[in-house]
Amino acid sequence: TPTCEPKTPLCCRRNYYVDFQELGWRDWILQPEGYQLNYCSGQCPPHLAGSPGIAASFHSAVFNLLKANNPWPAGTSCCVPTARRPLSLLYLDKNSNVIKTDVPDMVVEACGCS
């Protein structure tokens, strides 16, 4: 995943921290205090699109074949998450029971063109 300089126009992961205090939810979400609401944005020029290791997916494999047989692929590719991880939450439910659960695929770890 390309390192994301704040001003880079290329596809990369933009880090964005959300504090639950700012949501006014610290009264029912006990842990953690916030989480990374990362997202993917940036351009996917042809030389970056679908190159293996950047967006390892079936879609990019097909895309590579198209590219290999055609210097100017008709379609463009998009800057998408390619790796995510779960977020462990500890919160109070409506009956004030303490619930610990892991919400899958909550945090974007890596982005790529696909």
Binding site: E5, L37, Y91, N95, I99, T101, M106
Partner: protein
């Protein structure tokens, strides 16, 4: 080097404009509620006392990951104020999640006072209301307790059922095996502690019901 910032990531993304920030916060709210399968944030009317919460959270393995589609639950007992002794009152737990989840692990945590009169013989009954509101109860488990402090009593998860309303009622029947305290004072001392930060609680592990699970079992 002199001009550039010593720590490239220190600049960080420019703080978002208030309007954009509000959109992102709303997005975060939607993402979390969706991840927790909630339509709106819960309204907490009676939060558990902080001391009880802190103690109970020490029981949850803080570092372990919860397997996918599973949850660990801690539910504090509601004890009627009028109860003279916990040994003859009802512990009520509000567990609406039991209706949509399969319970596969249950422990009842009790705090025994240092004034424990020798060995305590404890029976735990599940109290329920059947059809036509006739009360029914079944013995869940028996334990002999010989030391004061916290005790985690395993309950048969198969036997623990929530009512339609999601309420679980447990009744404790405890007798000191030796009655030396009763003889002395005429009244068995209160062996179990129900002060705020020693309030009894259930520790449960539940798994989301697979769609159609009930039919499979019936078949």
């Amino acid at each position: 080097q002199a001009t550039g910032s010593a720590c490239p990531s220190c600049e960080g993304p420019a703080p978002a404009l208030p309007a954009e920030r509000a959109v992102v916060l709303e997005l975060a709210k939607q993402q979390i509620l969706k991840g927790l399968h909630l339509t709106s944030r819960p309204r907490i009317t009676h939060p558990p006392p902080q001391a009880a919460l802190t103690r109970a959270l020490q029981r949850l393995q803080p570092e372990t990951m919860v397997p996918r589609k599973e949850q660990e639950v801690i539910s504090f007992a509601t004890i009627p104020d009028s109860s003279t002794s916990i040994c003859s009152s009802m512990l009520t737990f509000y567990l609406s999640t039991l209706q949509s989840h399969h319970l596969y692990y249950a422990r009842l945590w009790l705090h025994v006072l240092p004034t424990l009169p020798g060995t305590l013989h404890l029976k735990i009954f599940q109290w329920g209301t059947r059809r036509r509101h006739r009360e029914s109860h079944g013995l869940l488990v028996e334990h002999h307790i010989t030391t004061p402090g916290w005790h985690a009593l395993i309950l048969p998860s198969g036997g623990l059922r929530g009512e339609e309303s999601g309420i679980v009622k447990l009744r404790l029947d405890c007798k000191p095996l030796e009655d030396n305290n009763t003889a002395a004072t005429g009244q068995p001392r209160q062996p179990l502690d129900t002060t705020e930060h020693h309030r009894p609680f259930l520790e449960l592990k539940i798994r989301a019901n697979e769609p159609g699970a009930g039919r499979t079992k019936r078949r």
